[in-house]
């Protein structure tokens, strides 16, 4: 269960202060598929990174499973993100000099308690699930955009997180590839019970969610 209470996030911009989020309060049930929509600058990505423990709100609280997220220290927050959250981003953010398999293994390296031995088989299995078994040794630049996004999803699943935060995951993809990615996310939600929170511009993508949040000027509509 995620509870956001009266969260405001203020940015200092060149023309003075800007409210990215303005007194937002929401609750998200575990296992939900929430889509966040809104125009450019509406605050949807700010909401996502605030939920993901990446951006401390100016005021208000973010509570996940009864724990105040921003009471954690920086390294505790990093461990929390590593174990509990998978990020899928519009620009994929794969490491360019590592192949697909190595990219998927990165979050596992940051969780040393799981040991070194199981990393490779798990990464191979995740890439197989994404239909990339034969592409595991390819560098990101040798993969198509759709394949890169599937590698990013495999990476997000590396430590079997409870929640996936997706920021415009289909923003760079053509409609067919976008559908493919959205289907993967839906399956993860329905079959594995992962909580999915997805920011999108696309009405088609937004329709995949079980819950929908619409933002304008940092406020929920």
């Amino acid at each position: 269960m995620i509870n956001i209470t009266d969260v405001t996030r203020i940015y200092d911009g060149p023309r003075g202060q800007v409210k990215g989020l303005d007194r937002i309060s929401i609750s998200i049930e575990k296992g939900s598929f929430v889509t966040v929509t809104g125009g450019s600058g509406s605050g949807k990505t700010t909401l996502l990174v605030t939920l993901g423990g990446l951006l401390r709100p100016t005021t208000g609280s973010v509570e996940v499973d009864g724990r105040q997220l921003y009471s954690l220290k920086k390294n505790q927050l990093a461990r929390y993100r590593n174990r509990k959250i998978g990020f899928v981003l519009q620009t994929f953010n794969l490491i360019p000099y590592l192949n697909a398999l190595e990219n998927v293994m990165i979050p596992m390296i940051f969780a040393p308690e799981n040991g070194n031995g199981g990393r490779r088989p798990r990464a191979e299995s995740l890439l197989e699930r994404m239909g990339l078994g034969e592409r595991s040794m390819h560098l990101p630049r040798e993969l198509s955009i759709g394949q890169q996004q599937r590698v990013a999803i495999a990476r997000a699943l590396a430590n079997d997180p409870d929640m996936i935060l997706a920021d415009e995951p289909t923003g760079n993809l053509d409609p067919a590839l976008a559908m493919e990615i959205l289907e993967i996310l839906r399956k993860l939600n329905e079959d594995e019970g992962k909580t999915i929170i997805m920011v999108t511009h696309s009405p088609m993508a937004a329709a995949f969610g079980t819950h929908r949040l619409d933002l304008r000027n940092g406020r929920l509509i």
Partner: protein, 404 residues
């Protein structure tokens, strides 16, 4: 896969930047290693020259002059032989060799000879305090003059002198001129004040006062002259910068009732050159430390800038600050170690090639500098990388998102 895989793969990604960063450290270390290697070899060369030229410090009785030392008059003042032990027991820096002598001009039948009592090096070395005092340092083998232990190949062979290691109580060594004057040959005998000596050797001509002298065991000479346990001088071979760094003053403190003097400024120019090289080396070291650290720091700063999205993504997916430090500081460690190693190789090779041509010195590699070269280069690299790494660890990962 481990974290090191990421470090290793990224290291070779930007080869030109890597080479330019390495070059600054490598060349810097090479210059230091080169200068230091030549400086040490030059110091050793001075030492060998001093040994071959003979003693450069004289300890004489208070009332004596250097003229007395050469004239060897019958009534020239003396002082106790025990003074030798005082020097040996004092652990002074820079005393390489020493030789107590008692010299007197005495009758030898129809003419005079200058009889000089000496202690063969074997007897000095055999004393327990000699080996534990460390006075002779690494050169315990050549208590007197001689080239053992140090390759003298670049020395003028005419200047080389041979150590007198053993000398029986009844043996004498005769200088070339004295031997001709007294008509002595090896294996013959020489009677001095009723004491019959065996001539165990005729010394080769040196062109010095030694050519006119007869050398016998110090204690035998003391017995003949009836001045037991007295000597007329101690010749000391002090080495290198220690002479001007207080060796003379320290000797005066130990032996207050003596006259201590140096025999000319034999190799003072070379000592000054060595000092200059030491100072240049120090200046270079400081410059290299600064330039190397800036160069590596600049490379790392650019590296952090180029990898902002990558670092941000890593932090977002769970990299802690210590992981980011490991990513960059391990890279810096590798750069430093490789730069130090290459710098050592280039510096040593440069010294070996240029040493003989520029300074007339045969330069051998000094393995100990490999350790210091790598250590300094690693410290430079780590220092230069610290601020960029600190900055990387503080990156806010939220900027990797599409919009914020």
């Amino acid at each position: 896969m481990k974290l090191n895989t990421i470090i290793w793969k990224e290291l070779f990604l930007r080869k030109s930047q890597l080479v330019s960063a390495l070059l600054a450290v490598t060349l810097g270390i090479a210059v230091i290693v080169g200068i230091q290697t030549v400086a040490v070899v030059s110091e050793n060369a001075v030492k060998i020259k001093m040994e071959n030229l003979g003693a450069n410090i004289l300890v004489l009785p208070q009332a004596a002059s250097v003229d007395d030392y050469y004239a060897a008059d019958i009534d020239a003042p003396t002082f106790p032989e025990e003074y030798v032990e005082r020097i040996l027991n004092s652990a002074l820096n820079g005393v390489d060799n020493l030789s107590p002598k008692l010299t007197r001009r005495i009758d030898a039948g129809s003419s005079n000879v200058i009889l000089t009592g000496i202690l063969p090096s074997e007897e000095l070395a055999a004393k327990p305090y000699w080996s534990i005092s460390g006075l002779s340092g690494k050169d315990t083998g050549h208590v007197h003059t001689g080239p053992s232990g140090i390759d003298p190949k670049y020395l003028d062979p005419r200047l080389q002198r041979t150590a007198i290691e053993t000398l029986n109580r009844d043996d004498v060594l005769v200088g070339k001129v004295a031997a001709e004057r007294l008509n002595l040959t090896k294996g013959g005998t020489l009677t001095l004040r009723d004491h019959v000596f065996n001539v165990s050797g005729i010394l080769p001509e040196t062109g010095t006062v030694d050519d006119n002298r007869v050398f016998a065991h110090l204690h035998t000479v003391q017995g003949i002259l009836g001045i037991g346990s007295q000597i007329s001088c101690i010749e000391i071979m002090g080495c290198c910068s220690a002479i001007s760094d207080g060796l003379l003053g320290n000797l005066r403190n130990i032996l207050p009732d003596t006259r201590i003097t140096t025999i000319g400024q034999i190799v003072s120019t070379q000592i000054e050159t060595n000092r200059l090289m030491e100072q240049i080396s120090l200046i270079f070291l400081v410059i290299i430390l600064i330039v190397g650290a800036i160069s590596i720091g600049n490379f790392m700063w650019a590296n952090v800038e180029e990898r902002r999205r990558e670092i941000g993504a890593m932090i977002a997916i769970g990299a802690t600050q210590s992981v980011i430090y490991r990513l960059f500081m391990t890279k810096a460690l590798v750069l430093g170690a490789v730069g130090g190693f290459l710098g050592y190789i280039i510096g040593t090779a440069g010294a070996m090639i240029l040493g003989p041509r520029l300074a007339g010195l045969a330069v051998e590699p000094m393995a100990v500098y490999l350790f210091f070269a790598v250590l300094i280069a690693v410290l430079i690299s780590l220092t230069g990388s610290f601020i960029p790494t600190f900055r990387a660890s503080r990156l806010e990962p939220s900027f990797i998102m599409q919009e914020v």
